[in-house]
């Protein structure tokens, strides 16, 4: 028996299964490795686990700033090559209340995958399940957010721009539809600009980096929300510069959280994440798609 909040999710799951493309895994597209991003979603449907993601910042919300600490997780499970479902949640700690956030379920399907151009386009729908979390901190209503996600590496730049080839961008564009008229709908837009030292070392110019340095990716992410209804306020969001280190099975990331305006918050916060590539850790069991697991 389905909760009414889950019926749209079931439909999205069934529809997305029809439009999947064969996929490699784990952010690898052509010659490029796209690391998992922290404050924005990346477009890959893969077996991954982000546990934990810890963030600390002072939220504005238009009134007195309040400090907030979040302890989050996200588990992404591939169902078929190019199609995965992620489950995300966490614990929110604020002076005015503490508790578990709502569970968020997001099926994502890779629609276009062009290894030669290092380009990927995906589509998904996020379901923030109302009342699945603590009343003290989580929304009582469900929010549906259809979104498109993309990634583009610049490995196809001409030879005289070779040092720019290690750059890549990822982005998401979604429309949040809350299941209440009290909260405005909003456009959610986010992305990342990254420079892969591994790509520089292996595909452009061997700099003689040691293994540790070669696995670093300097990155700048951003995460923004623009209400579309009247009374919803203006755009809020953060810019998050930082550094990712990607190993064979795991990734560590640390970024500063810089509010773009007072309405978002004051002072600079921080986010740190430990991320696991389940497809490499357990390629024959947990890390392969449930259906059609050929790679």
């Amino acid at each position: 028996m389905f909760n009414s909040s889950l019926k749209p999710f079931a439909c999205a799951l069934a529809c997305a299964t029809l439009f999947t493309m064969p996929a490699s895994a784990h952010g690898i597209l052509g010659d490029r490795f796209f690391p998992a991003t922290i404050t924005s979603d990346d477009p890959f449907a893969a077996d991954e686990l982000a546990l934990p993601t810890f963030s600390a910042f002072r939220r504005g919300d238009g009134g007195p700033a309040t400090s907030e600490k979040d302890y989050d997780f996200e588990w992404s499970k591939s169902i078929a090559p190019g199609f995965a479902i992620s489950f995300a949640g966490g614990y929110i700690d604020t002076p005015s209340g503490k508790g578990f956030d709502n569970l968020e379920i997001t099926p994502v399907a890779e629609v276009i995958r062009d290894p030669d151009r290092e380009f990927i386009l995906s589509a998904g729908v996020s379901f923030d399940i109302g009342r699945s979390g603590s009343r003290a901190v989580a929304d009582s209503f469900t929010t549906y957010t259809p979104e498109v996600l993309f990634g583009k590496g610049f490995g196809d730049l001409p030879d005289d721009m070779a040092l720019l080839r290690p750059f890549a961008v990822t982005g998401t564009l979604g429309y949040a539809i809350p299941g209440t008229s009290v909260t405005s709908r909003s456009v959610e837009w986010a992305g990342a600009l990254e420079y892969s030292l591994l790509y520089l070392q292996n595909n452009v110019r061997d700099q003689g980096f040691g293994k540790f340095v070669a696995q670093l990716t300097p990155i700048v992410e951003f995460s923004m929300e623009t209400p579309t209804g009247t009374g919803g306020g203006g755009t809020t969001g953060t810019v998050d510069p930082g550094l990712l280190w990607s190993g064979q099975y795991e990734q560590l990331g640390v970024e500063a959280i810089i509010p773009v305006n007072r309405a978002t918050g004051r002072n600079i916060g921080v986010v740190a994440q430990l991320h696991f590539y389940i497809d490499d850790m357990f390629p024959d069991t947990f890390g392969r798609p449930l259906f059609g697991g050929a790679r």
Binding site: N202, R205, R295
Partner: protein
């Protein structure tokens, strides 16, 4: 919070060496190398053991002509290919790797031989 982090780190350490994507760790000649001495071969060291039947490396000149002198050799996590005597010019190395757990990776780069 400490328990979560410790558990996560233990999971990392306890993960079985089941294999992973074979990433390029070292290449000779390296990407973007400018050489005065003609290399006799291209050697690629990857991070994982390879499936020889599904892995490949090729070297071509600026016109796209193959300049390899023999078949590629795969030994464990290393691929190598012997080269014909090279004339001055730019050359492209293109490689595809399939690790023993069937993960696929690829890469390409250029090097130059100067007179």
């Amino acid at each position: 919070m400490r328990r979560i982090l410790l558990t996560a780190l233990l999971l990392t350490g306890a993960s079985s060496p089941a294999g992973a994507h074979a990433m390029l760790e070292h290449a000779s000649p390296g990407a973007g190398a400018v050489l005065r001495v003609t290399p006799k071969s291209v050697v690629l060291d990857l991070s994982e053991a390879l499936e020889p039947a599904f892995s490949s490396v090729s070297v071509s000149d600026a016109a796209g002509r193959d300049v390899s002198a023999a078949r590629m050799v795969v030994s464990g996590d290393t691929m190598s290919i012997a080269l014909k005597p090279l004339v001055p010019g730019a050359y492209r190395v293109t490689w595809h790797a399939v690790s023993v757990d069937t993960h696929r990776t690829q890469g390409s780069y250029t090097f130059v031989v100067k007179p």
